[in-house]
Amino acid sequence: MELSKAIYARSKRFFSEIGDMAYFAMRFFREVVSAPFEWKELIRQCYRVGNRSIILVGVTGFILGLVFTLQSRPTLLEFGAVSWMPSMVSLSIVREIGPVIFALICAGRIGSGIGAELGSMKVTEQIDAMEVSGTNPFKYLVVTRILATTLMLPLLILMGDAIALFGSALIENLKGEVSYLLYFNKVFDALQYSDIIPATIKSFFFGFAIGLVGCYKGYNCAKGTVGVGEASNAAVVYTSMLLFVIDFIAVFVTDIFVEL
């Protein structure tokens, strides 16, 4: 009986949170199209999101390319299929590994930052102060941040993919004596628009999810410093879960289109 009550309470909390988040997302879509627009703040947020993550995504991408190629080489060598390396690496990274890994890194870096920043603004009444000074804080703080992550994440992912492929090319060049030109020719032979476009569309959704969850958790943060910590932590945990759900849906939908 106790267990069923606990399960009921937890599921109720879970679904009410999903409902609240959906309402928060709807409010975003309503506010994003209505004037006045906070262009200056949007550009500042885009710069912050990009600047915060560019080195992290770059370094991770480079190492990802190196490691992926080093790990795959022995297996491909065994089958005499090492010439397939550029195709295999490029398809795996561009289609799946790149977007998911870089989005997870950005969720940790950007999502938690947004959660903590808005959370601390909430507990120190800065959001209330904004509201009473006649500025819509949802528009100024939330809309700009969600738009910034939605626009910047695809760029960060494309950059990360490119650096990962360069890392892979470096290993192939050193170990397999494959020239960069040959490597990238093979990469572009293997890659189709049907690989890049769905992955890029998926990246927009990843960016939206990172911004949305970070802002939702921060904006609805409980009072006190504990609330700020929880908002920051929950932003990362929920976003990571949501990223995999979005990834699954995206792959599923892409698969249907490919089959058509």
């Binding site: 601390s120 009444e125 102060a129 009473v132 000074s133 006649g134 819509n136």
Partner: protein, 251 residues
Amino acid sequence: MKETNENKQPVLEIKSLFKSFGDNHVLNGFNLKLYKGENLVVMGKSGSGKSVMIKCLVGLMAADSGTIKIQDFDITSLGQKELDVLRTEIGFLFQGSALYDSMTVRENLNFPLRRHKNKVDGNKNTEELVLEALDNVGLASAIDLMPAELSGGMKRRVALARALILKPKIILYDEPTTGLDPITAKEIIQLMRDVQKKYNTSSLIITHDVDCARVISNRMILLVDGIDYAHGTFEELSKSEDPKIKAFFKN
């Protein structure tokens, strides 16, 4: 004061305000009238609902029932845009100052001017308005500092300058002296009086600080059990024999 007020139209009026959080009934029919040019102090114990009342007043919190009229506008019936415009007529000094900590003092003061500069003197540029507001609180030298570099009293002064920058007609003070040493508290109270004199504003001051109430109030309301339990001047209330009122003044 009381007799003259009766013929005047209030600039701010609360009628039968109710607000509950679950079973916790914080406000049970609170009433208030603020007249032009007066300093009205609402005093109550911690947790008596003073902050809830003031948040309902500016639309930060929705009341369960009751009417709140500011300059004849019922704020519960206003849309977001109309409410934003009306809010420029109200300055709000938060208990914790609530300065934007990622911005400098200048940017903090610029912030309300971004959208509502047309409301204030059109001949002055933003920089002049910011400097004037900081001069009023004696902190022009702190213009480029970050809030983290300011002391508690300085933060409160900058927050007051920010609340005044749009030249509001009504100023709401939420515990203006809480957390300050007695000397700084006195300075802030003096500043509040100067501001009132200079701009002829009406002020609603929420406090539990008896000294602050004594110095600044023209009229007082005691908030007890969620209602406006007693009205009167500081002298009248401090002489009351009612035990609930006496409890506020016994020290």
